[in-house]
Each structure stands twice: as structure tokens, then as C-alpha cells.
């Protein structure tokens, strides 16, 4: 395995269809902006890219087949390079990064572009749309009616029972996230909000409120990665990919994802996310307490409290005390989502895993402005996706 470096990163600011940021831009236009920004940041030309690993979108572009990487190559210039389109639900960006990383680490290619972009349809993400009694997701929605936010809300409610987390503490996670996003030029929301604002927003699925759940957004992200040897030709201070991992759900996972499963004998948590992160710690020989900051998938503020505990970044039940004492802010001892997170960006689903790599890179270069984590040395990124997919990556300087 060769050491892999991040050479350049680019993001198209996130927004909502029709706004001043993304307007009516197509996913191809959003990706073009992100790719050209990453190429410029890396100091490489399009002709030097040897392969593309792209996140496959169900919602936009890709000729209806998730061929989003082919769209990018056609748009920027067909050089005949291999294109890998990776599908893993909302974890697709992380999966694409993992494949790009593997191609470089394995010595197949020296210079790879990883890209993900989305133009999302309005409202709650719908299910497969297949009306078949053999499709468990159809059965769950027809017979129960339990969209994504209600799944998250059952986890949030259980945490309130297990650890005494209050609705105000959930609101304070959002307040913290939105404070981080002030001055982040790529965030969709860049204004602070108060606890009162959050608590005044309507329940989407009690106990979770509108401002505590990430909306869908349009946006794109791209990163150029290469072998460490190659990186030294371009920069004296490359950011190193300590590892990139992928995992899927374990049979023992007890979260209410389908209609039913066995009652567990142990705790209930996201087994796919934990497996991806534990594998990353093991492969990188980096422990949870060595992490300077984390960018995790906060579809809802609940995850900012639950995931750090599940992964050993802090003790079970401790996260809310760390939140209350300001330790999860960029200047605290366990910074979580200094970017502002999904709650401030909205979810451009398949772009997220790539966008996290860009955020980690800016932090590790010391280029994160107001959201900078002081002396950031090691960053952890994590995504989750439908189907029981998860990814993690650890970057270091």
C-alpha cells in the first residue's frame, strides 16, 4: 500500500433550487465548479487526471443510471480515462473516496479525481417508489408510515430515556452547528440562531424539530488525490490520507430500520457507522483520543451526541455535558462538525462524503478561517447511507 495525499479540494456552495446560490444550475454545472476549483487548488490540469471515482446519484444527472462520473468527464473533456460510479445511498461520496483512495494506494493510478454532486428534489426523500409487497421499504411506508425523520426521532427519544438528554440540549446542538457555519463560505445557512428560534420551529417528528433536521440541498464537491511521492512534486505540505474505510450493517444491528428484527441482547446503535470508524482507527493506528476534530453525518442533531460516544471519542452519556460546556465547538477538546455540519449545509446526499474530505483538508492546512480548529493535526470523517452503508476516513498533516 502506498501513502496517499490530498492535493486539491473544491466545493460549490450549497443552496436550494431557485435561491441566489444555486438557482437553476444543473448537477453538471455544480460539479464543474467544484472540479475546476479542486484542479486549480491542486495545481494540476485535467489531462493529468488518470481516473475518476464518482458518487452515483439517484436524483440528478447520470443519465438515469447513476453515471454521474461520466457526466463530469463528458463535460470537462473526454480523455478516455476509467470512470467508476459508486452507489451507496447517502454514503456514496464516502464510497467514491474509498475507491479513489484504493486505486492510488494500490498503485493502479497516481492521480485520481473524486467527485459528488446533487440537485435534490423538494421535501422528504421518498422511498424506492416500487409498490411491491416484497419490498420491505414499501411495506414500512404503506403499513406504518415512518419516514426518515421518524426513524431518527425514535433514536432521539430513546436517548432522552437512557441519558436524560433534554429537548433544549438537542436545540443547543443546532445552535452550536449554526454558529460554526457563520463565515463558512460554502454553507447554505450562515447565520446564527438562538435556542428560542430552534424551540419555536415546528416538530417534524417529535421530539425532533425542523431546525434540528438537515434539509435537502443542492451542491457539489471534488477532491484530487495522488500518491505521496507525486504530491511532493506539487507541494511541501500535503495532507495525508491516514486511511479510508467502508463497512455495512451487522446482523446484530437492532435499530428500527425495517418492519421488525430480533430484540437485541445488547445496546442498539448504528453498527455500520461504528464498524467503519473502528476499522479506520485500527488501520491508521490512530485512537479516538488522538482525533483533533470530527466531521460526522448529522442528519439530525442527535448524531452529534450519540456518535462520539459510540466511537469512544468520549464516554457514554458524556456528550451532552461536553456540549453544554462548549467542548464540542472548534476550540473545545472534542470539536464536532466545525464546518457547521449537515444541519448548516443541508444534505446534497452523494456529495457529502467528498465535501467532508474538503473540510478536513482545509482544517489540516489551517485554512478554515473562523471555524478553524486550533492546531488541527488529525481529522475524522464519517458518512452513512441507505442499505446499511457507512464510510470513514482519517486525514492527517
Amino acid at each position: 500500500m502506498r501513502e496517499v495525499s490530498v492535493l486539491g479540494v473544491g466545493v460549490h456552495r450549497f443552496g436550494k433550487t431557485g435561491d441566489e446560490v444555486v438557482g437553476t444550475k444543473s448537477v453538471t454545472e455544480l460539479c464543474r465548479h467544484a472540479v475546476q476549483m479542486a484542479l486549480k487548488d491542486a495545481g494540476v490540469s485535467w489531462g493529468q487526471i488518470e481516473a475518476v471515482a464518482a458518487a452515483s446519484s439517484r436524483f440528478s444527472g447520470g443519465k438515469g443510471w447513476g453515471l454521474n462520473g461520466n457526466d463530469v468527464v463528458e463535460d470537462i473533456g473526454s480523455t478516455g480515462i476509467p470512470v467508476y460510479n459508486l452507489s451507496a445511498g447517502c454514503a456514496a461520496g464516502g464510497n467514491a473516496f474509498n475507491v479513489g483512495y484504493s486505486l492510488v494506494a494500490g498503485g493502479i493510478h497516481d492521480m485520481v479525481l473524486v467527485v459528488g454532486g446533487e440537485v435534490m428534489p423538494k421535501g422528504m426523500i421518498q422511498t424506492s417508489g416500487v409498490e411491491e409487497a416484497t419490498d420491505p421499504e414499501f411495506l414500512r411506508q404503506r403499513c406504518v408510515g415512518m419516514p426518515g425523520p421518524s426513524f431518527w426521532a425514535t433514536l432521539a427519544r430513546r436517548r432522552m430515556f437512557d441519558h436524560g438528554t433534554t429537548e433544549e440540549q438537542y436545540a443547543r446542538v443546532t445552535v452550536k452547528a449554526r454558529k460554526c457555519s457563520v463565515g463558512n463560505p460554502h454553507a447554505r445557512f450562515q447565520k446564527e440562531i438562538s435556542v428560542a428560534d430552534v424551540l419555536a420551529s415546528p416538530y417534524v417528528s417529535n421530539p425532533l424539530r425542523l431546525f434540528e433536521i438537515c434539509p435537502v440541498s443542492n451542491g457539489a464537491a471534488a477532491v484530487v488525490i495522488c500518491s505521496a511521492a507525486k504530491a511532493r512534486q506539487f507541494t511541501g505540505k500535503p495532507v495525508t490520507v491516514a486511511t479510508s474505510t467502508v463497512a455495512t450493517i451487522d446482523f446484530t444491528d437492532a435499530l428500527p430500520r425495517g418492519l421488525a428484527g430480533p430484540v437485541p441482547t445488547g445496546p442498539s446503535f448504528h453498527t455500520e457507522a461504528k464498524a467503519a470508524v473502528m476499522r479506520a482507527f485500527e488501520r491508521a493506528a490512530i485512537g479516538p483520543r488522538d482525533i483533533s476534530f470530527t466531521e460526522l453525518q448529522d442528519n439530525t442533531c442527535y448524531y452529534e451526541l450519540a456518535f462520539p460516544e459510540e466511537w469512544g471519542l468520549c464516554e457514554p452519556g458524556e456528550a451532552q455535558a461536553l456540549l453544554d460546556s462548549g467542548q464540542t465547538t472548534p476550540v473545545g477538546r472534542m470539536p464536532i462538525n466545525p464546518s457547521g455540519g449537515f444541519v448548516s449545509f443541508g444534505e446534497a446526499t452523494t456529495a457529502m462524503g467528498v465535501w467532508q474530505i474538503a473540510e478536513l483538508t482545509w482544517q489540516l492546512r489551517g485554512q478554515a478561517g473562523a471555524r478553524q480548529v486550533p492546531d488541527a493535526k488529525v481529522g475524522l470523517a464519517q458518512t452513512n447511507g441507505l442499505g446499511g452503508n457507512a464510510t470513514a476516513a482519517i486525514l492527517k498533516r
Binding site: 421535501g123 422528504m124 421518498q126 422511498t127 417508489g129 409498490e131 409487497a133 420491505p136 414499501f138 411495506l139 414500512r140 411506508q141 404503506r142 403499513c143 406504518v144 408510515g145 415512518m146 419516514p147 425523520p149 421518524s150 426513524f151 431518527w152 426521532a153 425514535t154 433514536l155 432521539a156 427519544r157 430513546r158 430515556f161 415546528p202 416538530y203 417534524v204 417528528s205 417529535n206 421530539p207 425532533l208 446482523f251 437492532a254 428500527p256 425495517g258 418492519l259 421488525a260 428484527g261 430480533p262 430484540v263 437485541p264 442498539s268
Partner: protein, 161 residues
């Protein structure tokens, strides 16, 4: 919500319909998806179980999914009875299709129930939010989900004991 009485009339389950001119108008009760649950002899969902490792499944699994189970000996099993609320949430907004509901939309509680029969199940709660608590005991029932073309479409739900 008024409690519904289900009765078997000429082989078809009916629910209490509108009472026009004092005469009882039966509304045909049909499952929202056929073959998933039964009302005969008490409410149950129709799943199966691996006799080798004891893993319960709903809906039915063709083979045992337990990677640590050496064999797959599947037997049909009807799951009903009682359980406790592991957690719950509320559908405060109408879920997107393929969910169906009576208009105007009325929010409902969704329970995650650890059943005595070994299944952790999701289902709508019959009871209002004010009465629902983690740890409370519930039982499986079959109740109306929505009405369409004069029929009441049913699903499994949970009710506080």
C-alpha cells in the same frame, strides 16, 4: 379515536360504519397489504422463525439471515401478544407516498416495540402521544389505517395495555 369493533360477517371483517336512519352500514375491512397479518383468534403478524438459531422474522424470510447460523430451518410463525415500548416518535407531517392516510391528516405516534415473542417491531400506536411512555406495556392489534372507495384498509398497530 373511538374504539373500533371488528366482527366477522359472512367471512368478511367489517368495522362499524355510518349509522344512517338507525340502520347499521357495514364497512368492509381489508388489509392494506394482504397476507401480512391476521385478525382471526387475536391479532398477529405472519412471519417465520429459524428453528436452528431461534431468529424470528417479520415479514417472512426465505432463508435465515443470521451469518452465525449454520443451517436455515424456517417455520411459519404468527406473532402477537404483548411487549414494551423501546422508543417512539410522531409523524407530525404526512409521510410521502406510498403512505396513505385519511384527510385531513392527523398526526400519529409510531412505536418501536420489544415484543415478548422476541421481535422488535415498528407500528403505529392507537393511543395519543400524551399517554405514550418508554417502557409502557402494549399489545398488538389490527386497526384502520385509511379509507378508500368505501373500504377500511387495516394494518397492525399497538395499543397501551
Amino acid at each position: 379515536m373511538a374504539e373500533k369493533r371488528s366482527n366477522e360477517v359472512d367471512g368478511a371483517f367489517v368495522e362499524e360504519g355510518s349509522v344512517a336512519g338507525g340502520s347499521f352500514v357495514p364497512v368492509l375491512r381489508v388489509p392494506a397489504v394482504p397476507g401480512l397479518f391476521s385478525e382471526e383468534g387475536g391479532a398477529t403478524v405472519l412471519g417465520n422463525k429459524c428453528l436452528a438459531c431461534g431468529t424470528p422474522y417479520f415479514p417472512k424470510a426465505a432463508e435465515c439471515h443470521n451469518p452465525r447460523c449454520g443451517e436455515s430451518r424456517m417455520a411459519d410463525c404468527a406473532f402477537g401478544g404483548k411487549g414494551v415500548i423501546w422508543s417512539y416518535s410522531v409523524a407530525d407531517f404526512p409521510p410521502p407516498p406510498p403512505h396513505k392516510f385519511d384527510k385531513p391528516f392527523k398526526s400519529y405516534v409510531i412505536g418501536v416495540i420489544d415484543m415478548d415473542n422476541g421481535l422488535r417491531m415498528v407500528g403505529q400506536m392507537v393511543d395519543p402521544l400524551e399517554h405514550v411512555r418508554v417502557g409502557a406495556q402494549v399489545e398488538l392489534v389490527v386497526d384502520t389505517l385509511y379509507h378508500e372507495e368505501g373500504k377500511a384498509y387495516t394494518s397492525w398497530k399497538f395499543k397501551l395495555v
